[in-house]
């Protein structure tokens, strides 16, 4: 079954750029996550709910993605959903 993923609403996370990494403080859990690209870019695009295929296409438009793969992206999205940084809505 497919799913759409979306980033937390504004204010639910605090973001600190630590070039090249990014620290994300998740208010609901009180946990800090240090993430590498393209996670911040994914979260920025997921302001609107997207399927993994739609997200991959959007990432491909903006960034150089030599090995874009829907299955791998879905796995990463599910990991982010497990720690609360994205929400998964079944469709």
């Amino acid at each position: 079954m497919g799913a759409r993923y979306r980033a937390p609403p504004p204010g639910h996370v605090l973001i600190l750029s630590l070039d090249p990494l990014t620290a994300i403080y998740h208010r609901a859990s009180g946990q800090t996550h240090v993430v590498a690209p393209p996670v911040p870019e994914m979260l920025a695009l997921l302001v609107d709910p997207l399927t993994p295929g739609e997200l991959l296409a959007a990432l491909g438009e903006r960034y150089d993605l030599p090995d874009g793969d829907v299955a791998a992206l879905t796995a990463r999205l599910d990991e982010l959903a497990a720690i609360g940084l994205v929400t998964r809505d079944a469709i």
């Binding site: 605090l14 070039d19 090249p20 620290a23 403080y25 009180g30 800090t32 240090v34």
Partner: protein
Amino acid sequence: MLRIGPVGFRIGSDWRAPIGALGDLYRDYPLPEDGIVDFNVRLFAARPWRRFVRPAVTIGGDYMLPDALPLPLAQGLLAAEMGMNLQMALAQRRYLLLHASVVERDGRGLLLSGVSGAGKSTLAALLMTRGWRLMGDEFALVDPATGLVHAFPRLISLKNQSVAVLQCAAGQARFGPLLAGTPKGDIRHLVPDATAIAAMDRPAVPALLLFPTFGPAEAVRAVGAAETFVRLTQASTNYVALGERGFATLRRLVQDVPVRAIDYADTDSGIALVERLWRELA
């Protein structure tokens, strides 16, 4: 009872000797304001006969580590110091705590953060003998509301070779007894100078953060924001407990304060390097 910076302690003991040693070494420190303490430390015998037979000091207080090993009575002073550190590490919530020594000049603070053995205490004590104000050799207390670092100038814990280094550099200073064969080697405490005690209520603006390593040949390395952030979360005893305030406090440090990692092979060149970086960066 005594007050160190903004933190008041009451220390109780089943034996007189550790309290006597503390009272002597901390004799110039103030009492907690209004007699109200933040933390209690209790040095006690885990079994009644351990007060007398091979007396062993268990460290307790408001907060305890369940599996901490007791120390022999001859190291009672160390037990009291560890007891105060333990309360801070386990329960301080007013400030973000970083394992770092801090010295100050012109209202601006130099933070030296590193693991045990990196030379935090030795460098801070030597800088104290060279006109810097010592703010602490163990914990930097960073106020989440202001970003200022507050002093916590407890006794300076000198270990092994650094005892002789400081006896040479600070001959007039007061030292505690030599505590031989502790879990961290030979320890001797150095009493912070009168300036450190008199000015301990005055915070400083963090102006330079150094991560020293003692041993390798002299080197200076730029430290990126990500490494600084992760190192400081590891150097903090209460980052997680402070939640969002901890994140915001680290954000300010990472964004505002210049950072370098330094290697130094001996204390003289280490001090020269620190003072050079201070002139260049702070």
